[in-house]
Symmetry: D2
Subunit: 381 residues, 4 copies
């Protein structure tokens, strides 16, 4: 693991996600650029001091020298955005699979380079767009893929939060600090941090790609250097239209990612804050409430739960689904097994999703600078 | 009453709204342009045949000749959009107050003329933007007006319906017919029919005016001549931003007008489909659920309910609030009483709201034709 | 109308319910035992002073002397419980139909007498167990009647309120005063006031009769003379079992009547506070959300709405459904028309429901005095 | 671990709960009485074959012989009810702490014996009444303990499920099989399996003990030997009253444990199916929606979450809280640290809770046999 030392938020989430299904052992880490702090963090986790490194470079080199059955199997990257690319690049170069927190990189150019590296190396790369790990998100994707809603016409995807409604970064709060710093976060604030989750969710569920967008992003809090709110008109390939908006100044909203999709024959609605329910809407029948873990769900949704209906699973389990699938993919590789096209082990976000996320950020920023002019979301070579 | 003969929808709603509080008697009507049909409709309502007219012109002229204590006190107009202006104009010219269904007129030019007439005549003009009749909508307006949410930053207002997801107008369905006909409905379809309600609600609650907008409207159903869906970016005077979207092709949505407003210190959320609850959100306290008719509400909200808490009131009661206030205003006029600035009798939408609604429609259509270019919502003389 | 003078709650509700559908005109009243107060109350309602009586006896006698097309068609009784029987009895004796607030009478013996009188007179008697006026309550009854849920096994019906959590009657509050006074309210407090609504709702929806019950009722507030809370085990004829509990000390509950019914094949759940939704549950399919006014509903539910889906109707409309049906029944009588068995005009609570309600109250009180011993709910001659 | 071999449900839940926080390693198991099956189950979990035992007796004896730093620290028991007592007893006798699935034992007599053993041995015993592991359950307990709701008057606790609405045990389904078999499940069916959770939750949250109860339990499904539904009147020490009902034939209900508690000054409501929200009700203020992980919560609730607000945690996390606290208690013991009275490490259900659960089952069965006569819930020596 790179990053995730004492006091970090997402590092602990990754570790719980990795541990939950008892398929993955944390064996080493460069938890902090301060070697002592890294060792202390590792000690909290019952790791051998020798495998608690002060720098990711050291970790990768050292682990690469170990015997194949001793060395780490993959690298998990849980650093702030500007530090995603360097360890990912190096890990791939040294032959390690990579599971990275999102966004994939600091900018689109890096993401394309990383894509190139992944293709060349033949190694696996996973990205924790964790919200696609929820069982009912998978059910929505499968329903739409099977044509149950008919041709998609409209998509509304939202990600409101309220935690940055004041200038929290001025108080020294670590999470707020790097997220509002253009040098660490990238070209966008809220749009990079959470808008990309909304973009990824919309494309994952609908199977459609955003073709162009018109964005109006704003930094409402005085002195803030990156957007903390944004509203975007969407046009998808094939004719669907929609709205994406995200916010970190919507006071009182916790982490309310949600999506509604309407096709010619039906609609779906899902909210991350109560993730075990999904509303399914029909023109002339009562609305249905799909609930996770029930027998009427498809195989992808079922594979993504661990318990019977109404034993609610949540954020950590959705996150763990990415780890579990990624680990299953590595194991299949190691054992030389081929996986079927719909094998759950293949169901995790990949570098292509990362590249689209970076392209989304750049298109949003570009559009907004041009007063919300329509801007294409394209990933050219 | 002008319009509202057998088979009409909104005419019956107006009559229930007028009757509910026992302050208004329906005394005459031009329910249909077919005199026999008008008489039959009037007979259903226990009206004297002599006061069931075949044309609004006849009604206005005949009633004007009656003694003051016999003639009608005001005209209610419940016709399709293109027939709002002529009877309103004539009624005002003959000295009758007018209560009209929305939108005020067929286009902005007519609305401005009507505004001129209202001002000159000194008569009362009310517009049934009925959703502002709900008690918790009034509470939201008062909370924001009192600064409880701080300066407003973001507004999300939606009005999704699904009933026009197929080409219902081709089946002879009357409501669908005129609403999708540019000659009867006006320049916009969904944006005129329901988008204006959303616009009115957002301006009523926030007390802010939309300054400019960028709209992308669409006719998704093949062969349809007016928009059945639209997404709009909003910028308000003073710096707030937002999103307005409405739809008549969002399959499975009934009539789900809803709004969220976020200020620097708090937020509110209200849904028309469960109108007796409003969520109030704070940065560091639990969300509150305001419920209609409770003692902790302000005077405007209290004046808008008839029963104790959890005796749910709904659409018809909200509609009736406009009639009740309008009647109270007329009565005060007739009795020579002056009303205080905050008297509930003054709390109903007026011609100025109608003019802004028409300006909204024209701005949306103009913006969308120019590929969602920013367009000012202005009401110049 | 008997009762319902200035300051009364339920009288105003009855008047709105009667006025809403424009089928009934209020023509006279004995609004108060104080003649001047009665006249003043009548004046508020634009009634002729000559028909505002100081006593119900005077009203009934005077009206009976009027010509058939002038006199009132029926009497609405909206007095406290102890004053239900006398005017109902007299009205029937003078040939007037009666629509009474619930409970039907002060005790079971009176209710049986009234039943006798109704039978002998051939006149119509309606009882405003208004919660059965909701469209989705009718849908539930029809679904169960048609066997869609299979044989019923379990019923949970609740009616929690919180408004009597303190000794409100000691403050002079009028509503609290008579409801907690054994001389005016009858043998039970909460169980009579709201428990009977729960009992009536359960029997109406399931079509099953409570056979025996075990009740534990309590007066939690010090000094209160009647129960303000009660818990009851139910056994229905045919083997279903259940729980009924009601409360007026459940702080923060508004008026939350709700019911769940489970059969061998399905279940339903309905809450009065959001009355336009009903949950329908199946063993191996997603839960459905039935919404009022939709095309998939049965005829009884459809007949009980006035507006399209998601134009929420509420308590007053449900109440008005009883008035509308009762008026339609009278009109059919007057016109000599026979009504089909399922005609909506017959769908209102009758004296038999009133008698069962009184028997319920007496059984509950008897059981509780015997430490919750099983007690039969029987209506012997 | 004793039990939990391939195909078991609760064993996997325990393992996830133990693994999640990376404080506990599974080191050995008697997963099945079939030694080969036990080894195979252990292999699935990457365990050394030598520590996969064919019987719990063998496991306990063998582990006891290992060096202190090699042997297991405690035994987790995840077998059907009739097999809880024997391994618990033996583990304690050999000096191992015990964490057992509920109910504690097969009957009350065994539970008392176990209590005696725990006291004598000085070892730790935990019971996975996992629903008390939810953060908002802890918040409810703390609010009530601090007197925020005033003296408690009424408790409504429910646990409806629908999965046994048909005779599933006749199909060979393993979970249904033992749960409906008096030899394996004990004296009660639904009341033992889920009613005890409701009883435990009510006592945990309110801090009150049930003094006596009147129960009416039923086996609705033909041929079933144990109750699948039951309704119970409750009287608590100190005067509060309430209702407890549970069901396994409430078609369409998943696992809907929920509770409402009303005191003199406020009320709370919590539902396990959406466990991250709790409604808090006041007499004259809007209802509040408490959400897990927010800053306004107390220390116990905060200690029970791993992620920020609206990163929903669920059943597995609540379960894991018991494991985490139990492990922390063992570690404190091993390290000779004393824990403060409110240390989260002490917050897990203990043998006393287990004994009360068994007493509850016996009282319910006894009461129901005597036609719901009041029966005391007493734990005499």
């Amino acid at each position: 693991m790179v990053g995730g030392g004492r006091g970090a938020f997402i590092g602990a989430v990754h570790r719980i996600a990795a541990a939950m299904d008892q398929q993955i052992d944390l064996v080493c880490g460069a938890f902090s650029s301060n070697p002592e702090r890294s060792k202390a963090s590792g000690a909290d986790l019952f790791l051998a001091p020798a495998r608690c490194y002060g720098a990711f470079e050291e970790m990768i080199k050292s682990e690469a020298k170990l015997d194949a059955d001793q060395r780490m199997d993959f690298v998990a990257i849980v650093t702030p955005n500007h530090l995603h690319f360097p360890p990912a690049k190096m890990a791939l170069e040294y032959g390690f699979h990579v599971l990275s927190d999102k966004p994939a990189t600091f900018n689109l150019a890096q993401a394309k380079k990383l894509g190139e590296l992944v293709r060349k190396s033949g190694l696996l790369y996973g990205l924790t767009h964790n919200y696609t790990g929820y069982p009912l998100v998978k059910e929505a994707r499968d329903m739409i893929g099977a044509g149950k809603l008919g041709k998609i016409r409209k998509v509304v995807v939202e990600y409101p939060q309220g935690w940055l409604a004041t200038r929290l970064e001025a108080t020294g709060q670590k999470q707020a600090g790097w997220r509002t710093d253009p040098k660490k976060s990238g070209a966008a604030g809220s749009m990079g941090d959470i808008g990309t989750h909304a973009e990824n969710l919309a494309e994952y569920i609908t199977g459609l790609q955003i073709e162009e967008l018109a964005a109006d992003i704003t930094a409402f809090v005085k002195g803030r250097r990156l957007d903390d709110d944004g509203n975007v008109l969407l046009r998808f390939k094939g004719g669907a239209k929609g709205v994406l908006h995200c916010s970190q100044i919507s006071v009182g909203e916790e982490n309310n990612l949600n999506i509604r999709v309407y096709g010619e024959r039906g609609g779906i609605e899902w909210h991350q804050k109560e993730p075990n329910s999904m509303l399914v809407k029909w023109p002339d029948q009562p609305m249905q409430v799909y609930r996770a873990a029930n027998g009427y769900l498809g195989s992808a949704a079922k594979a993504a739960t661990r318990t019977p209906p109404a034993h609610p699973e949540g954020y950590l389990e959705a996150f763990a689904n990415i780890y579990r699938n990624f680990a299953a993919h590595i194991r299949a590789r190691n054992e030389g097994r081929n996986l079927g096209r719909n094998d759950p082990a293949l169901d995790y976000p990949k570098i292509e999703d990362g590249i689209r996320g970076m392209a989304f950020i750049e298109a949003v920023v570009k559009s907004s600078k041009r007063n919300a002019a329509w801007t294409r979301l394209e990933v050219k070579k």
